[in-house]
């Protein structure tokens, strides 16, 4: 069986590296992306099984990216986990149509657990 493909977008390189490392360790195929403007294209070309999305990013914020995905019939059911250090992150994420929300800083086991659960449910 092909490993699940996960796209992660965060404007912070440290977090990007960390999550990539952990997810790869777990056996997933990971596409890290630092620029939120590229997410839509990457989703179209790479067809990830799940997206991990930061909220506060320059130019195009995570919830805008998410709304665009939800408005597109081909990605409207794509599992998306939002991660954010923002106090009202959960409300924003859920309103935009996220499947799950994990506040930063997160526990790695928690992140892996949620990702796994969502992939299995899909």
């Amino acid at each position: 069986m092909m490993p699940a493909k996960i796209l992660i977008c965060d404007d912070d390189e440290g977090i990007l590296d960390l999550v990539e490392l952990v997810l790869k360790e777990e056996g997933y195929e990971v596409i890290p992306e630092i620029n939120s403007l590229n997410v839509a294209n990457l989703v179209g070309s790479e067809h990830p099984d799940l997206v991990v999305l930061d909220l506060w990013m320059p130019v195009l914020s995570g919830d805008q990216v998410l709304r665009n995905l939800r408005n597109d019939p081909t990605t409207k059911n794509l599992p998306v986990v939002v991660i954010s250090a923002s106090g009202d992150g959960k409300t924003i994420a859920m309103n935009a149509g996220a499947n799950d929300f994990i506040p930063k800083p997160f526990d790695l086991d928690q992140l892996l657990g949620r990702v796994k659960a969502l992939l299995e449910a899909a």
Binding site: L21, A85, F106
Partner: protein, 524 residues
């Protein structure tokens, strides 16, 4: 009786003695003093006085006859009356004066003196007749009236001055306060406004005073919230304080105002006038908002690298499982502990700032209280395998409140309980419903808190340093907890004995019809 004619005594031979006795008897019967002086003698000596004159003056006849009458003045010589008499005598005319005289024993009396000359055929004054009345009492009464009148006038002058001063004083206060003030008549006409009002709302006194409030500046004061305050709230809840009104004024823009309104209930000419004080809190709110925004951004930015650190510490933790190095493992363990503490502090920073500016937002919604407790206990239990959290009781309640805030309270109490009972494994959480209140009690068997420290643990930020030396990490957390519980109209308290442990309890009322000052319990 024809003895007296031409102003001269003339006694007929046969009747003279009889007539004279009759005359002296008549004069002695008079209540007025009567004297006759001989103007032809040097210094006008008294040649006759009646009985009443003796009585009035207190002198005896023998002490009177032959003297000039000025002896009655004693040393009180500087009187206008005296000069009037002097002139009258020199000119040979009548005079009527009130003059201060003194009895033999020295008592003052007011002498109403009528003095009149008796002239001979060639217009020479031979005698003077003086008629005296003691008018001290009348004079006193008159003086009293005059005195009272003067006093009254003085008082009126003083009162008027006081009033004017008061008015000026009050007016100067009214003009100095940094709030806008309006006085309205019962039918909501503007009676007066202070300078601050004029300046803040950029209007003139002419276009404001005397106009209906709702008509001011093309109806820009016809604000629904203000109407509600004046027409619905104030008639039954007088006075109203801290009533918030937001309005976009045509020229000056959006204003956030805090109003105090007071209807005068005192009977009298001012009854039912309405005083309104308006505080412009637009800028203050904006500053608070900016501070809040700044802290939100700061905490977000701080948490971002912290996320990476926490992640790598976790990875290191996993990797060193293969190394048999106790010191290394302990160091990494401590690192992750302090990373968590740093994370909590960053979160609390924002909370404290919000609480202190009264901006803590409540997102109230009904939730399953017992379920929330189970979840919270469960997640804390997971992270601290060394302690056993025993949950007893239940509420069975759908509580209407801010779930995430109350979760924060329970989490805080539980992590404190664990932190301060390192050697005692059991932590108790007990739920109950008591006459309209939910009660949650968290009990540990740890170090406990001395009586005089118990109140301090809920203290504000500035005391934290104190508290933190004894109870590191406890101060801000409990302060926030207490604020959250208060925001739900409940209370949070501690019972504790050093060495035996502590029980932190909080209650929350089940009925949510608690109104705050603004007449609603919604989040602001």
């Amino acid at each position: 009786m024809d003895s007296l004619h031409n102003g001269e005594f003339s006694f007929s031979n046969n009747t003279s003695k009889q007539d004279f006795e009759l005359l002296t008897k008549a004069l002695d019967a008079s209540l007025s003093g009567i004297i006759i002086t001989d103007n032809r003698q040097p210094d006008n000596p008294i040649i006759y006085c009646n009985k009443a004159f003796e009585d009035i003056s207190g002198y005896q006849r023998s002490e009177i006859i032959g003297h000039n009458c000025r002896f009655l003045q004693k040393d009180d010589r500087n009187q206008t009356a005296r000069h009037i008499l002097r002139d009258a005598i020199d000119n040979g005319t009548n005079a009527v004066v009130d003059i201060r005289n003194y009895k033999k024993d020295g008592t003052l009396f007011w002498n109403e003196l009528y003095m009149s000359p008796i002239k001979d055929g060639d217009d020479q004054v031979k005698y003077f007749i003086g008629v005296q009345n003691d008018v001290t009492r009348r004079k006193k009464a008159e003086d009293e009236v005059k005195f009272n009148q003067a006093k009254m006038e003085q008082r009126i002058r003083e009162r008027t001055r006081d009033l004017r001063e008061n008015e000026e004083y009050l007016a100067s206060i009214v003009q100095t306060v940094r709030e806008s003030l309006i006085v309205l008549s019962p039918d909501l006409k503007v009676l007066s406004v202070n300078d601050h009002f004029i300046n803040t709302f950029k209007v003139t006194r002419e276009e404001t005073e005397g106009k209906k409030l709702y008509d001011l500046g093309n109806g820009q004061w016809n604000i629904p919230e203000l109407r509600k305050l004046l027409e619905q709230i104030l008639p039954t809840n007088n006075p109203v304080t801290d009533f918030e009104v937001a309005h976009d004024f045509p020229h000056i823009g959006k204003k956030l105002m805090l109003l105090n309104a007071h209807r005068i209930e005192l009977e009298g000419q001012f009854k039912d006038r309405i005083l309104i004080a308006i505080e412009d809190i637009t800028d203050r709110r904006a500053i608070e908002q900016r501070k809040d925004d700044f802290l939100s951004i700061a905490s977000h930015e701080l948490k971002t690298p912290l996320t990476t650190i926490k992640g790598y510490v976790q990875i290191i933790n996993r990797l060193i499982k293969n190394y048999d190095d106790e010191k290394l493992r302990e160091s990494v363990g401590k690192t992750s502990l302090y990373v968590d503490r740093l994370n909590n502090l960053i979160g609390e920073l924002l909370d404290v700032s919000r609480i202190q500016s009264g901006m803590i937002e409540l997102h109230k919604a009904p939730f399953d209280f017992d379920h929330m407790i189970q979840e919270t206990v469960g997640s804390i239990q997971q992270g601290s395998r060394n302690h056993e959290i025993v949950l007893t009781g239940q509420t069975g309640v759908q509580f209407n409140g801010d779930e995430s805030h109350i979760t924060q309270v329970v989490t805080n109490l539980l992590s404190n309980a664990i932190k301060y009972s390192p050697d005692h494994k059991e932590i108790g959480v007990h739920l109950s419903v008591l006459s309209g209140f939910i009660k949650v009690a968290v009990t540990d068997h740890g170090v406990g808190i001395a009586k005089d420290e118990q109140a301090k643990v809920f203290d504000r930020f500035y005391r934290v340093r104190d508290v933190q030396q004894k109870f590191p990490g406890m101060g801000i957390g409990l302060y926030i907890c207490a604020s959250i519980v208060n925001n739900h109209y409940g209370s949070l308290w501690v019972e504790s004995e050093p060495g035996k442990g502590s029980t932190f309890s909080f209650t929350l009322p089940l009925t949510s019809n608690h109104t705050n000052k603004n007449g609603g319990d919604d989040a602001r």
